[in-house]
């Protein structure tokens, strides 16, 4: 009987064509006499089939330009050059005449990099403003903790709209144990900004920071390109941030709470602002 046992790894190797003739015969022999083992093999085969159905469609997708650009030098790849130019079009307007002259290409590339750097900094500034607003008005050791707040949750939106051209309503986070303690308008380099503070029974504070995009082109583009949701953690402060669907406002939910809790709060806020 012990001779007849075939390990599960053997069965796998059989399926994957990794056995020599003798081993293969042994497994086949085993399968012929063990319907249960045979069923396992069938299941594994069906599994492989399902996996391929699941993942194969990627094979038929056209290869994205950026990957082709990576693999093929730009000079040799006309399509790539066109799309690269299209990407830097906003910048190119001033340079469009000079474009015809090949010499300018070097300069174009450099200013595109500057642009990316500017966008990166604009994004950093958003994160910086969100976290410093939290530090100023929500941290225990701050002299400004919980000062200058509009404390009525229902009225906050109206109050804010009177001062800024932005519709905003404070969400309810009671289900996660957080109560609204107030909201405030904050200075912003462009557009309008503000935050809403919430506290739970353990005296933990979270903030919802929001900033609408103003006329600042760099920030707008930074938001556009980095529209995806993201998570950041620095020291004891965690933050989720994302763009509104229209892209006009960026939100951050931040606080010194664990990531699961913060995630749940962010999810609620996300649904609320949608």
């Amino acid at each position: 009987m012990s001779n007849d046992t075939v390990s599960s790894e053997m069965i796998n190797a059989y399926l994957d064509g990794e056995l020599d003739g003798a081993e293969q015969a042994r497994v086949e022999n085993h399968l012929a006499r063990n319907p249960e083992a045979m069923e396992t093999v069938r299941d594994y085969e069906a599994q492989a089939h399902a996996l391929r159905q699941l993942y194969d469609p990627v094979l038929d997708e056209p290869i994205p330009d950026r990957l082709l650009d990576t693999i093929t030098p730009v000079e040799a790849h006309d399509g790539a050059r066109v799309s690269w130019l299209r990407r830097s079009m906003p910048l190119a307007t001033a340079a469009s005449v000079a474009l015809a002259v090949g010499v300018v290409a070097g300069w174009m590339l450099r200013s595109d990099l500057y642009e990316q750097e500017a966008e990166r900094i604009a994004m950093q500034m958003f994160l910086q403003q969100a976290s410093s607003s939290y530090s100023l008005y929500a941290r225990e050791d701050s002299p400004w903790r919980e000062t200058r707040l509009e404390e009525d949750r229902d009225r906050f939106g109206e109050w804010f709209r009177e001062r800024n051209e932005l519709e905003i309503a404070a969400p309810e986070l009671d289900d996660d144990g957080f109560q609204f303690i107030g909201g405030q308008a904050l200075p912003a380099s462009s557009g309008s900004a503000g935050q809403m503070l919430y506290r739970n029974d353990d005296n933990q504070m979270v903030a919802i920071y929001f900033q609408s995009r103003g006329d600042d082109g760099v920030l707008s583009r930074a938001l556009e390109r980095n529209g995806r949701t993201a998570f950041q953690k620095q020291d004891d402060l965690s933050m989720y941030h994302w763009n509104s669907e229209s892209g006009s406002t960026r939100y951050a939910v931040l606080g010194s709470v664990d990531q699961d809790m913060l995630g749940s709060l962010a999810e609620r806020a996300f649904d609320h602002f949608r």
């Binding site: 599960s8 790894e9 069965i11 796998n12 190797a13 994957d16 990794e18 396992t40 299941d43 594994y44 599994q47 492989a48 399902a50 996996l51 391929r52 159905q53 699941l54 993942y55 194969d56 469609p57 990627v58 094979l59 038929d60 997708e61 290869i63 994205p64 950026r66 990957l67 082709l68 990576t70 693999i71 093929t72 995806r228 949701t229 993201a230 998570f231 989720y240 994302w242 669907e245 990531q259 995630g263 749940s264 962010a266 999810e267 996300f270």
Partner: protein, 168 residues
């Protein structure tokens, strides 16, 4: 060099398929592939033509993935809370059965999942797959066997119920 570029280009769809399974989100998957391509071109001289081009590329891709895993983990955690609207749209219409397989795959430990993907989907030999993952063949065997069994248990739960109901 030129023919190497051409050969690498031919592997891109396969790299994307594996990366898509690794990363979940198409955008991030292509980031992985792009990183892999850049690395491969830079280190083209290190490629040993006796070893397959594909497993060499997959190894680069995999290492790229591992080194980015920490941020990817965060991203995954995040996505559990926020379904990206386009992710749903891009998911196309998939049968519930495939959804079940997809969900079961997501539950597997990553090491097991990757072993299964390389062998069952990409068709690598054990030798090649173990090289991609930088583990001994024995480890690969055991991961593979556990992955298949776990996947079977997870997906059979659903189909067994269907059978029961059918028998009533």
């Amino acid at each position: 060099m030129h023919s190497l570029r051409t050969r690498i280009t031919a592997e891109i769809p396969h790299l994307r398929r594996y990366a898509r399974a690794l990363a979940g989100c198409p955008e991030e998957a292509d980031d992985l592939v792009q990183g892999c391509l850049e690395r491969a071109l830079k280190n083209a001289r290190k490629w040993d033509p006796d070893k397959g081009l594909r497993s060499w590329l997959f190894r680069i891709l995999h290492n790229n993935h591992v080194s980015r895993r920490r941020s990817v983990d965060r991203e995954l955690h995040f996505r559990r809370h926020f379904r990206e609207p386009d992710a749903v749209a891009a998911g196309q219409e998939v049968s519930t059965e495939l959804d079940g397989v997809r969900a079961a795959m997501a539950e597997l430990p990553e090491e097991h999942r990757n072993a299964l993907l390389l062998v069952a989907v990409e068709g690598f030999t054990y030798e090649e797959a173990s090289e991609v993952l930088s583990v001994p063949v024995g480890t690969l065997r055991s991961r593979l066997s556990r992955a298949r069994e776990a996947l079977r248990t997870k997906t059979n739960g659903a189909s067994a119920k269907r059978v029961e109901r059918g028998a009533e």
